[in-house]
Symmetry: C2
Subunit: 161 residues, 2 copies
Amino acid sequence: MADLNNLLSPFFLNDKEVKKVIELIFFSYRDFTSGPDKILEKLNFGRAHHRVIYFVGKKNHITIKELLVVLQITKQSLSRVLNQLVKEKFIIVSTGVDKRTKKLSLTEKGKKLESELSSIQIKKIRGVINKFSEDNINGFKKMLYEMIEDNNKKTFQEIND
Amino acid sequence: MADLNNLLSPFFLNDKEVKKVIELIFFSYRDFTSGPDKILEKLNFGRAHHRVIYFVGKKNHITIKELLVVLQITKQSLSRVLNQLVKEKFIIVSTGVDKRTKKLSLTEKGKKLESELSSIQIKKIRGVINKFSEDNINGFKKMLYEMIEDNNKKTFQEIND
DNA sequence: TATTTAGGTCAGCCATATTGACTTAATTAT
DNA sequence: ATAATTAAGTCAATATGGCTGACCTAAATA
């Protein structure tokens, strides 16, 4: 019902073919993160710092709790990473209207790093986009979205509304 | 030249749209690995064990060196993980024709675990495949492949020849 | 006023990775 | 035959990024 393509010619991949997809995901993800990793290394930061920088950049004035929902780590884990970023002035903290909360923002230094890290990944994705059609890109996005668990689909929507 | 679609209607995504793709990759990969992670946890294993189990299952009689090329970690890192898997009888080791090398194989216990872990990810991918067309799937695979660095593309080909 | 919420902190633990230095045994090249 | 290279292993130290559990403060809400 949903898709004529499937009704007319149901598409099947055997286990071996599906496993190739597993490997493509593994290899592509590793290379997707390796670029930023190299820059982060020079700053003695890791991927966790990248994620915090990224999502604070994405949503200015994000609170600790919101960040925890997105990252799905414990506050103890976030704490160490975030404190380093604040101490080294990539992120500044202010108090929310609800005075229990804290609002996080990137400093100019933080914005610069975020931009440097993101531009590597943006470049990589654009490189891919340029080789494919609009249909392919839209399919790619939809398929990635379908791989996300329902509760996290909600989170993805929330950070993009 | 390469693609009429792009010549006729060059497809452009602005930075904000490309960043959505970055997030889709982040969220989907996390959920792609979370299923196996839960099973591994019960065995006091981690994702590193999964990768070793996976690639030994993929290529029976793989050597340590071949495994290191695929995994791109140091032999010290591999050593700990592999020794645990051998000690707990998920993997058996034999000597190659070149007596310097070792050949790794899954035991029945190892095959069972590999199958249990892979079936989760296979199921997830099939779930996605069933919602899309053959064109979409082929596009998906090609786009993932294009995200891999050239030297690793070679590795991907080699493990699939 | 009592409870919940947002955030922080201390301590200890585990997994995964790294670098560097060094060893052994087997193969290959000179 | 000897030298060089290769495959594998090991010891030690270090870093990152997660976790649990226990406990605390201050502010908001019921």
